[in-house]
């Protein structure tokens, strides 16, 4: 954990002292990434602005408890992650009713399928491939889906994702590895069905 840099500490101190310009600067510095995290996590564009605002409201309410040994960005992205998960839970079924047949994703057959099948990027148009990825993601349990989604966001490294999810770095790597494997299996199964194999 590298901790907050001096600029971040100064920004936090100014916010805590009541400087509303500093509060606006804090929002300006992190809004793009917070909105992107929420967008990708929820998959809903129409909730981004409201949930991003909610993230910063929670940030300001908790700012006096921010531990400067942590990175401010990771702390704020963690709040964004929690806001997104809360939203997904509120909007119900789309999270818990979607279950992955995990055993199927772990079998030898899966590895054979992956090695025998050309990547979808070689078989589909980009739009089709994106649709397949989105459909596959929707079938992943949240536990795997969010790490995989976060890993694809430019600017979020594994240590940051580990901080957001409050899990060890090794766990994040495992979740991403397994999540991607499940996703590839799901896409390739759909492709195989489409080809009538």
């Amino acid at each position: 954990m590298s901790g907050a840099d001096p600029d971040e500490r100064a920004l936090v101190s100014a916010c805590l002292a009541g400087d509303q310009g500093a509060c606006a600067a804090l929002v300006a510095a992190y809004a793009r990434m917070v909105g992107t995290v929420i967008w990708r996590a929820t998959g809903q564009r129409d909730v981004i602005e409201d949930l991003t605002q909610e993230t910063f409201l929670r940030t300001f309410k908790a700012l006096e408890y921010f531990d400067s040994r942590a990175r401010l960005s990771t702390w704020i992205y963690t709040i964004a992650h929690n806001v997104a998960v809360d939203h997904l839970r509120r909007t119900a079924g789309m999270v818990d009713s979607l279950t992955w047949r995990e055993n199927e994703a772990d079998g030898r057959e899966t590895r054979e399928l992956i090695s025998d099948t050309p990547g979808p990027e070689a078989l589909l148009s980009r739009a089709e491939a994106e649709a397949f990825v989105n459909a596959g993601l929707a079938r992943l349990p949240l536990k795997y889906r969010l790490p995989v989604i976060y890993a694809a966001i430019d600017g979020l490294d594994y240590p940051t994702i580990a901080g957001m999810l409050s899990v060890p770095l090794g766990t994040v790597k495992t979740l991403i590895f397994r999540g991607k494997r499940m996703l590839k299996t799901e896409i390739e199964r759909t492709l195989r069905e489409r080809r009538g194999v």
Binding site: G18, A24, A31, G35, E49, F60, E64, R126, V133, A152
Partner: protein, 88 residues
């Protein structure tokens, strides 16, 4: 299928949507909403301060009923107890 940085076609596809761009004046709007919701730190501290004065008076009176009022007068003990309570 994986690039040098460990990203593969899935990452590339998912990242291709780009990032969310905040609308104009978004930071100012967030700060206004936070101020209205009393979520800004300084606003919250002012709220806590006014609450704490009332709380301190209540605390003082409750302790005064247990202690001899004469011993409380001018004593830092009550203040220290109250601060300990707040910091707990």
């Amino acid at each position: 299928m994986a690039s040098d940085d460990g990203r593969d076609w899935i990452d590339e596809l998912m990242a291709s949507g780009g990032t969310w761009d905040p609308p104009p004046n978004f930071p100012e709007r967030v700060v206004r909403r936070a101020a209205a919701a009393r979520a800004l730190p300084a606003v919250r501290q002012r709220g806590v301060l006014s609450f704490d004065v009332a709380g301190f008076v209540r605390f003082l009176l409750s302790r005064a009923s247990d202690q001899i009022l004469g011993r409380l007068e001018g004593s830092a003990w009550v203040v220290r107890q109250y601060c300990d309570l707040l910091l707990r």
